[in-house]
């Protein structure tokens, strides 16, 4: 489906989500509470069949944490962006999408490691690159006197 058709489809099926048109893909921002349901629906519905999770990114926006999923359908070859945001900076938590896309298991570990966003019901949420007790380097307020040179 082209971007316009996709936008129409998404407008119809996900009325509460915020759907914008980014520079390349349609971006849909959903409430964290309905994340799993939305993702499953996007994967299973016959018009979209988004079965390939390309990239899972965690971003530390100025006001909230955002998790951005780039998904693609191997059948129809359309791509879209799914976003969730959580404003909680003390204990940010999002539902895990391992049941929907298995590769999310490890990408979520990376986001937990570098940003500190926990994922509920994740079977193996441990740090991936860094040791336990390290801070969360990708956060904008991460300070490290020894290893980071502030210009």
């Amino acid at each position: 489906m082209t971007n316009e058709d996709l936008k129409i489809y998404l407008d119809q099926n996900f009325p509460e989500a915020t759907i914008t048109e980014g520079p390349q893909y349609i971006e849909m921002t959903v409430n964290p509470a309905v994340l799993i349901e939305t993702a499953s629906k996007l994967k299973k519905s016959t018009e979209t069949q988004f079965d390939y999770l390309i990239c899972l990114t965690g971003v530390d926006y100025p006001d909230c944490f955002g998790i951005i999923y780039h998904i693609e359908s191997t059948k129809f070859r359309h791509t879209m962006v799914l976003k969730v945001k959580t404003a909680d900076r003390i204990e940010p938590a999002i539902d895990t999408l391992t049941e929907v896309w298995q590769t999310a298991k490890y990408h979520e570990r990376e986001v937990y490691d570098l940003l500190g966003v926990k994922f509920n019901n994740h079977t193996d949420l441990r740090r991936l690159f860094l040791e336990d007790g390290w801070g969360f380097p990708l956060r904008k307020d991460y300070v490290d006197e020894v290893r980071i040179i502030q210009r």
Partner: protein
């Protein structure tokens, strides 16, 4: 007999036969610093747990304090065997965000370089794979031929692997006058040599016995784990970015996407050999027709992307490499994320290896073509 076994297994004070062995970060076969905790029962592998992070350099964090044309130097170091393709991803992302159209000459040069790097990456993989399997002569044959490509790179670009040739807007300088002739000579030479690779390894019965019928990856698993590149295509997952979302000069060339259906180690091996042939075909179509023109579009001194989020995909020799840039209008990016193919490919290893033997673990891991700095970033 089986009832006795049931009773024994279910009782608590019977020691099971499993034991864990560490393929530590230093190991000749892991091609980098990767630690695998292998749980074995006798010779059979029950579980493989990868531990990464030994070479994590914080590239994504570093990019947040650099300008866009400085990020390119960091992308080289991730998957250093497809350095040019990583550079190209960032350049394309920036150029698409600025909506700058590069001249055709740049597109042709970039694509020729892509394919040459792809061949050299597969050559190195083939050499290392033969050596892991025990045919140490394969190492020397592959490296001997790879030296020809690296010499071409050195003459034109000054470096052998980490080229830094791409820059947003085009390339750094024009190609050397000898470049076209040397590449054509190389193609002629390599076409005669590739069948030798087949005779040495692919047709050898010892090799086929060790690689066929193990390490199966079904196409559903490949899509679920996001295994792309030749590893995914060997299972039937059609994921070639060059075909589905073409960039640079790929719309102008005809080539086949190499797909296989078996999904075993031999299929992954053979897909890469066939990809080398396809790369030769692509270069042949392009090398004589490089259009004249500028080698770069002059961008402003300080590049600032408009606010928004941009994603660019390229097909490196390992798979689907993606660059995700979140920009807030300033001269440094707000967040850069690199979607590395090795990361997704590695974590499919556990499902491929279960039930096979330790020697098969080496074969299967080699066939995934992992480059650890790509995984760790």
């Amino acid at each position: 007999m089986s009832e006795i076994k049931e009773i024994l297994i279910n009782s608590d004070n019977l020691e099971t036969d499993e034991y864990s062995v560490n393929m530590g970060p230093q190991h000749p076969s892991t091609h980098g610093v990767l630690r695998l905790l292998v749980t074995l029962e006798g010779e059979k592998v029950l579980n493989v747990k990868p531990y990464i992070g030994y070479i994590h350099s914080g590239i994504e964090k570093m990019c947040e304090s650099l300008a866009y044309n400085q990020i390119i130097h960091l992308t080289d170091r991730m998957d250093y065997l497809s350095a040019h393709m990583n550079n190209e991803a960032v350049c394309l992302c920036v150029e698409n965000a600025l909506q700058v159209e590069v001249p055709d000459r740049v597109k042709y040069i970039r694509t020729i370089m892509d394919e040459l790097m792809r061949i050299s990456s597969h050559q190195l993989w083939w050499s290392a794979y033969g050596m892991d399997m025990g045919a140490q002569t394969a190492l020397f044959y592959g490296m001997r031929d790879r030296e020809m490509i690296l010499d071409i790179f050195e003459e034109t670009f000054g470096a052998r692997i980490t080229l830094n040739y791409n820059t947003p807007g085009g390339v750094m300088f024009d190609i050397h006058p000898n470049f076209q002739k040397r590449v054509k000579d190389f193609i002629k030479y390599f076409r005669k040599i590739l069948p030798e690779y087949d005779r040495l390894l692919s047709g050898n019965i010892i090799f086929t016995e060790r690689t066929k019928n193990n390490g199966f990856l079904t196409v559903e698993d490949a899509i679920a784990y996001g295994v792309t590149g030749p590893s995914g295509r060997a299972s039937g997952f059609s994921c070639d970015v060059r075909k589905h979302h073409p960039y640079s000069a790929y719309p102008f060339v005809k080539f086949n996407e190499i797909l296989a259906t078996e999904g075993d180690t031999y299929a992954r091996y053979y897909c890469r050999i066939l990809e080398m042939y396809e790369s030769l075909n692509i270069i042949e179509q392009l090398i004589d027709n490089i259009p004249e023109g500028d080698y770069a579009v002059k961008l402003k001194g300080v590049v600032k992307l408009p606010e928004g989020e941009y994603y660019q995909r390229v097909e490196t020799s390992k798979g689907d490499f993606g660059v995700f840039i979140v920009s807030d209008g300033k001269k440094n990016p707000y967040r850069v994320k690199f979607r590395s193919p090795g990361f997704s490919n590695l974590f499919a290893l556990n499902s491929m290896v279960k039930g096979y033997k330790i020697a098969d673990l080496i074969a299967i891991m080699g066939s995934l073509d992992l480059v650890i700095p790509d995984i760790d970033r």
